[in-house]
C-alpha cells in the first residue's frame, strides 16, 4: 500500500511536469492564445456595443434620427410628430450641411456643423493623446472639434485647418482644429458623413452668412437633426415606427435621410464586430486544435510510459492516483496559460482601445467583463478537462501483470497499404512508410493543417474580395461599377469634362446615376436610379426594364417582408406610385437599405431634369483616378462634385483587413511551432530506437532529419489539400452568411489557382521548416543508445 498518498502524487506530478515540460509549455502557449484572444474579443464586443448605446442615450439619440432641411419652422414639424401616440418626444439639434476640404482634399460627402451646447448635448472631448478625456466645456471662436476618425481618413492633426465652402463664390469659412470629440453616430471611419463641433457664436454667424447668399450660389444649407423617441407603451418595430411617422406626418417631405438606432449601432460597430468576429472564429479553431494536440500527446505519452504505469501499480498506486497526476500535469499548463492570457488581455484592453480609436471614433471602455470572460474560460476548461479525462481512461486498463509478463508489446499489425522503398528517394520513401504504418499518430496533424489552411483561405478570400485598395469592397457597396463620378451642380460643359478625363485615360463606358431619398411603403430608403438598368448587380430575378419595375436588396425584402413579383408603393416629393419588384440586386450601401429603379420609373415620382444626375465613368487606367479628380476639382471647383470609387471608411476596413492578415500569419506560424513542439518531440521519443538503428547502418543525421521532415511535409500537404478543397467549396457560403449582416447579399470570389494554393504552400513549408529545426535532437541520438536505452 502506498503511504502518504498526497506526498507521493506530488513527487510523481513534479517529475511528470519536468519530463513533459515541452508539452506543458506548448499547452500553456495555446491556452494563452485562446484566453487572450477570447477575452479581448469579449471585451471589444461587450464594451463597444454597450458604450455606443450608452453614449447615444446620453447624447439624446432617439429610436429614430431624421436629418431634415428646408423646414419652415421646425417647431411645427416637431409638434406634428409629437402628436402621435407612439411618440414620446422629439429632440432637435440644429445643424448646417456643408462640403469641406482638409489639406487640399475635398470631402466626398457633406459634413454637418453642430453648435456645441453642453447643457443639452454634452459631447465628450478627448485629450491630445486620445487615451482619455479632458473637461473642457467650451469652444472658442474659430475653433473646431472633429472626430478622431478624421485622423485616419485625412491625416488631420490639432492645429490644421478645415475649410467649409458655403457657396459657389468665395464664401469660405475656416476653422482651426482644436481637438477631437466622440460622436456616437458619425464618429466611425466607416461613415462618410462627419460631424463638426463649433461654438454657438460661430454657428449663428454661419447661419446669418448662409441666409445672405443667393439661392443660386449657396451650397451650404441649414437643417436639423430630429431625435424621435418612441413612447414606452408603443410596441412598434423600428420599421413600422418609421412608417407610421412618415405616413402620418410631413416628415417625409423634409427628410434628407433617416436612421434607426439599430442601424446606427450597426454602422458604428462594423469594425469592432469584424475584429471580434475574427477573434471568436480564431478561438474556435484554436480550441479544436488544442483538443487534437492534447489527444495526440496523451496517447503517445501513455504508449511510451505504459511500463512505468504498470510498475507504479505494482507499488500500490491506483489508476485514480495515476490519472490524477496526468490531469494535473495538463491542467497546470492549461490553467496557467488561461490566467496569463486573461491578465494580458486586462492590461492590453486600454491599448486596443487607444489603437482602434482612429477607426471607431470612440474610446472604448476598458472595463473588463469579468463575469463573461470567466464563464467563457471555465466552459473551455470543462471541455478540455472532460476530454483529458476520457483520453486518460486507458490508464485504468494497464495491468501490472501484463507488463511483468511482457504481454503488452509493440506488436504492429500488417501495414495494409505499403509503398515501395526506393533507393533514389530513400528519405521520402522511408517518410511515406512511417506515415502509412503509424496513420493514427499523424491524423491529428492532418486535421490541424486542414483547419489552418481553411482558416487562412477564408481570410485570404475576404482580402481578395476587398481588393488591395478596397476596390472589391467598393464594388459591393456601390450601385454599379465605376472609376470616376462627376456630378454637375449647374450647367457645365460635359464634353469639356470628358476631354479632360480622356487626356488621362480612355473612357471605356459611362452611365448616369441619381441617389434619391424615397419612401417605400412609408419607410425611408435610398433609391438608386440609373439611366441603364443593365448595370445593376442582379442576384435573382431580372433587372428593372419597364417603367413600373424596381429592384430591392435582400435587406429590404426582409425588412418589408416582400419578394419578387410583389408590389411596393414608392413616394417622393409628394408623388407616389406602385411598382412591381422584378428582382433582387446587390448593393450594400446604407447596410442594404436601398432600392433600384430605371430613369423612366423614377420620372413617375421625381424630377429627372434637375441636377441630380452623376455621370459615372469606367476608365482604361484606374491608377489615374485621383489625378483626374484633382484636375477636375481645380478646373471646375464648385460647379461639379467629383468622386472616385472609394469612400473614407474604406481605409479603415482595408487597414483592419491587412492587420488581421499579418496577425493571422504570425499566429499561424506560432501555432505551427507549438504543434511541432508537441507532436515532434513525442515522435522523436517514440522512435529513438529506430533512429539509432538507422545510424548504426550508416545513415547520417541529416538524412534521417530529411526523412523526419518529409513526413510532416507529406501529411501536411495532404491536410492542406483537403483544406483547399473544403475552402473552395464552402468558404463563400460561410462568408456569405456573415456578410449578410452588413447588407451584402452575395459573397463570391473568382477561383484563382495561385490564391488557392498559397495557404497550402505556406503552411506546408512552415511545418517542414519547424520539423527540420526540431529534428536537431536526432544529432544527439547515439548508436550506443541501442544498447543503453
Amino acid at each position: 500500500m502506498v503511504g502518504g498518498g498526497t506526498m507521493n502524487i506530488a513527487i510523481l506530478l513534479k517529475r511528470g511536469i519536468q519530463k513533459h515540460r515541452g508539452v506543458i509549455i506548448g499547452l500553456f502557449v495555446l491556452q494563452f492564445l485562446i484566453s487572450f484572444s477570447l477575452t479581448t474579443a469579449l471585451t471589444i464586443f461587450t464594451n463597444s456595443g454597450s458604450y455606443v448605446r450608452h453614449e447615444m442615450e446620453r447624447l439624446g439619440f432617439g429610436n429614430i434620427t431624421a436629418w431634415v432641411s428646408n423646414v419652415n419652422g421646425v417647431e411645427g414639424l416637431v409638434a406634428e410628430i409629437e402628436s402621435l401616440d407612439s411618440v414620446q418626444h422629439v429632440g432637435v439639434q440644429p445643424l448646417i450641411f456643408s462640403g469641406y476640404s482638409i489639406k487640399g482634399t475635398h470631402s466626398d460627402d457633406e459634413g454637418q456643423l453642430i453648435a456645441y451646447t453642453p447643457d443639452q448635448y454634452p459631447y465628450k472631448f478627448l485629450n491630445e493623446s486620445m487615451r482619455g478625456y479632458h473637461n473642457s466645456t467650451s469652444i472658442d471662436k474659430g475653433e473646431i472639434y472633429i472626430s478622431p476618425a478624421m485622423k485616419s481618413v485625412y491625416d488631420v492633426d490639432i492645429g490644421d485647418t478645415v475649410r467649409f465652402e458655403l457657396s459657389r463664390t468665395d464664401d469660405i469659412k475656416e476653422f482651426t482644429v482644436k481637438g477631437y470629440f466622440e460622436d456616437p453616430f458619425m464618429g466611425s471611419s466607416m461613415i462618410d458623413m462627419k460631424s463638426f463641433l463649433i461654438s454657438s457664436s460661430d454657428f449663428e454667424e454661419l447661419s446669418d452668412q448662409i441666409s445672405q447668399i443667393s439661392d443660386f450660389n449657396v451650397l451650404a444649407r441649414e437643417g436639423d437633426m430630429l431625435h424621435v423617441f418612441e413612447s414606452r407603451t408603443s410596441n412598434l418595430s423600428p420599421t413600422d415606427f418609421n412608417m407610421q411617422i412618415n405616413t402620418q406626418t410631413n416628415l417625409g417631405s423634409y427628410t434628407e435621410f433617416v436612421y434607426t438606432s439599430s442601424s446606427i449601432y450597426g454602422f458604428m460597430l462594423i469594425l469592432q464586430n469584424i475584429f471580434a468576429g475574427f477573434l471568436f472564429a480564431f478561438v474556435a479553431v484554436l480550441i479544436i486544435v488544442s483538443i487534437i494536440l492534447m489527444g495526440h500527446s496523451i496517447s503517445n505519452t501513455i504508449e511510451l510510459e505504459f511500463k512505468d504505469y504498470g510498475i507504479l501499480k505494482t507499488l500500490g498506486y491506483t489508476s485514480k492516483h495515476l490519472k490524477a497526476v496526468q490531469i494535473l500535469q495538463y491542467l497546470s499548463g492549461i490553467i496557467s496559460g488561461m490566467i496569463a492570457g486573461l491578465i494580458g488581455s486586462i492590461f492590453l484592453a486600454g491599448t486596443v482601445s487607444a489603437l482602434t480609436i482612429t477607426s471607431t471614433g470612440m474610446l472604448m471602455s476598458t472595463e473588463f467583463p469579468y463575469f463573461r470572460c470567466i464563464v467563457a474560460l471555465l466552459l473551455i476548461l470543462v471541455i478540455l478537462s472532460s476530454f483529458i479525462g476520457i483520453k486518460i481512461n486507458m490508464i485504468s486498463h494497464i495491468s501490472p501483470v501484463q507488463i511483468m509478463t511482457g504481454e503488452i508489446s509493440n506488436i504492429k499489425s500488417a501495414i495494409k497499404i505499403k509503398n515501395t522503398i526506393q533507393r533514389k528517394c530513400l528519405s521520402f520513401s522511408l517518410a511515406m512508410r512511417q506515415l502509412l504504418s503509424e496513420k493514427k499518430r499523424y491524423f491529428g496533424i492532418c486535421i490541424v493543417s486542414t483547419l489552418l489552411v481553411f482558416f487562412i483561405a477564408v481570410v485570404q478570400r475576404m482580402d481578395t474580395w476587398i481588393g488591395p485598395n478596397g476596390e472589391g469592397l467598393m464594388d459591393t457597396f456601390s450601385v454599379a461599377d465605376h472609376d470616376l463620378g462627376v456630378q454637375p451642380m449647374r450647367d457645365v460643359d460635359m464634353d469639356g469634362i470628358e476631354r479632360i478625363i480622356s487626356s488621362y485615360a480612355d473612357i471605356e463606358d459611362t452611365y448616369e446615376i441619381a441617389m434619391q431619398g424615397v419612401m417605400v411603403n412609408g419607410v425611408n430608403y435610398t433609391a438608386n436610379v440609373l439611366n441603364d438598368s443593365s448595370w445593376f448587380h442582379i442576384l435573382s430575378g431580372k433587372t428593372c426594364v419597364e417603367d413600373n419595375e424596381i429592384l430591392i436588396t435582400e435587406y429590404v425584402a426582409k425588412d418589408l417582408s416582400v419578394k419578387i413579383g410583389d408590389t411596393l408603393t414608392v413616394a417622393h416629393n409628394g408623388k407616389s406610385k406602385d411598382f412591381k419588384i422584378s428582382g433582387i440586386y446587390q448593393c450594400a450601401n446604407e447596410m442594404g437599405a436601398n432600392i433600384a429603379m430605371n430613369r423612366e420609373a423614377y420620372s413617375k415620382i421625381g424630377d429627372i431634369n434637375s441636377y441630380i444626375w452623376c455621370h459615372h465613368y469606367i476608365l482604361s487606367d484606374h491608377s489615374m483616378n485621383d489625378e483626374i479628380m484633382k484636375k477636375l476639382q481645380n478646373t471646375y471647383r464648385t460647379d461639379i462634385a467629383v468622386h472616385t470609387n472609394s469612400w473614407s471608411g474604406l481605409d479603415g476596413i482595408v487597414s483592419t483587413m491587412h492587420l488581421i492578415i499579418y496577425l493571422m500569419y504570425v499566429i499561424v506560424i506560432i501555432f505551427i511551432f507549438i504543434v511541432i513542439l508537441l507532436t515532434g518531440n513525442n515522435l522523436l521519443r517514440a522512435e529513438q530506437r529506430d533512429l539509432a538503428i538507422y545510424k548504426s547502418i550508416g545513415f547520417t543525421s541529416n538524412k534521417i532529419r530529411m526523412a523526419f521532415t518529409f513526413r510532416f511535409g507529406i501529411i501536411v500537404a495532404i491536410g492542406s489539400f483537403i483544406g483547399i478543397v473544403i475552402s473552395n467549396v464552402t468558404a463563400d457560403s460561410i462568408i456569405s452568411v456573415l456578410v449578410k449582416m452588413f447588407g451584402i447579399g452575395e459573397f463570391h470570389v473568382k477561383f484563382s489557382l495561385i490564391n488557392s494554393i498559397m495557404p497550402a504552400v505556406f503552411v506546408t513549408i512552415i511545418f517542414m521548416v519547424f520539423a527540420f529545426l526540431i529534428s536537431h535532437k536526432i544529432k544527439k541520438v547515439a548508436v550506443v543508445d541501442l544498447i543503453n536505452p
Binding site: 500488417a414 522503398i421 512511417q434 504504418s437 529506430d690 547520417t700 544529432k779 548508436v783 544498447i787
Partner: protein
C-alpha cells in the same frame, strides 16, 4: 600472417555523469586482425561491450588512437563515420534492432541502399540471396514483429553482411535466443569466418566463446589475457571447451 584491421592505441573511455567520472576502459592497446574471429569476454561490467563500441567507432573514445586499415578513425566526422558504417562495418546486436515498419527484406535492402558499393538491382538480389542463406526466405516480406527471435536475428546478420563489410561487430548476438536458435546463429557466424569474414564478438556464453580463434579477456577495463585457438571444427568442440574452461579458470572467472 593476417593484416591488422583495427588498431587501438592507449584507448581510454571515461563516462561522466553530473561531475562523477567513471573510467571504463584503461589504456587499452589492441590490434584486431583480418580474418580472425575475435571474442571479447569478461565478467559483467568489465567493459567488454564498451570496448566493442569503442573499437567500432560507435562510441567516441575519451583519449587514444583508433585506426581502421591504417586510417585514423578516432578523428572522423559524423559523416565519415556514417560512411564507414555503411561500407565497412556490419553490426549485430543482442536485441535484433530491425526497423519496426520495414519488412525483413527491406531492412536488409535499405542497409545496402545507403552504401554506394553496389547498384540497386545488385543490392536487391544480394539481400534475397543472404536471406535465403540465413534460411529466412519465407519470412522476408514480414515485419519484424511478425517473425520469431531467431528469424529476426538471422535477418540482422544478413543486414550486417549486405555491403560485404571488412568486419562484423556482434554484441551478445545469442543473448536473447533459445538453444536451437543460438546454435543456428553461431553456426552462421562460424561459416562466415570460415569464408574469410573478420568478426569481433562480445559474449559471455561459453558455447559462443569456443567458436572464436582469438579470445581476449577483459577485466576492470583492461585486457589482461589472450588465448589463440585453431579454427573451429565441430569434432573439436569438446577439447576446445576444455581448453577455454582451463584458461578461464586460470583467471578465476
Amino acid at each position: 600472417m593476417s593484416g591488422t584491421l583495427i588498431s587501438g592505441q592507449n584507448i581510454y573511455k571515461v563516462f561522466e555523469q553530473r561531475e562523477q567520472k567513471t573510467q571504463i576502459l584503461q589504456d587499452i592497446t589492441v590490434d584486431i586482425l583480418e580474418g580472425d574471429f575475435t571474442i571479447v569476454m569478461g565478467a559483467s561490467g568489465a567493459g567488454k561491450s564498451t570496448l566493442l563500441y569503442a573499437l567500432s567507432g560507435m562510441d567516441k573514445i575519451t583519449s587514444g588512437t583508433l585506426k581502421y586499415k591504417e586510417k585514423k578513425i578516432s578523428d572522423f566526422s559524423e559523416k565519415q563515420m556514417a560512411e564507414l558504417r555503411a561500407n565497412e562495418f556490419g553490426f549485430v546486436f543482442q536485441q535484433t534492432h530491425l526497423v519496426s515498419n520495414l519488412t525483413l527484406l527491406e531492412n536488409v535492402a535499405v542497409a545496402g541502399y545507403i552504401s554506394k558499393k553496389n547498384g540497386t538491382k545488385e543490392v536487391q538480389a544480394r539481400a534475397r540471396k543472404l536471406l535465403d542463406q540465413m534460411h529466412v526466405e519465407d519470412a522476408q516480406n514480414r515485419l519484424p514483429s511478425q517473425t520469431s527471435g531467431g528469424e529476426g536475428q538471422r535477418a540482422a546478420i544478413a543486414r550486417a553482411l549486405i555491403n560485404e563489410p571488412g568486419i562484423v561487430f556482434a554484441d551478445e548476438p545469442t543473448g536473447a535466443l533459445n538453444k536451437s536458435n543460438t546454435t543456428e546463429v553461431l553456426n552462421i557466424l562460424t561459416e562466415l569466418h570460415r569464408n574469410g569474414q573478420s568478426i569481433l564478438m562480445v559474449t559471455h556464453d561459453l558455447r559462443a566463446v569456443t567458436r572464436g580463434n582469438r579470445l581476449l579477456y577483459i577485466e576492470d577495463g583492461k585486457i589482461i589475457n589472450e588465448l589463440n585457438l585453431p579454427p573451429y571444427h565441430e569434432k573439436d568442440e569438446k577439447s576446445r571447451e576444455s581448453t577455454v574452461n582451463n584458461w578461464l579458470a586460470s583467471m578465476k572467472w
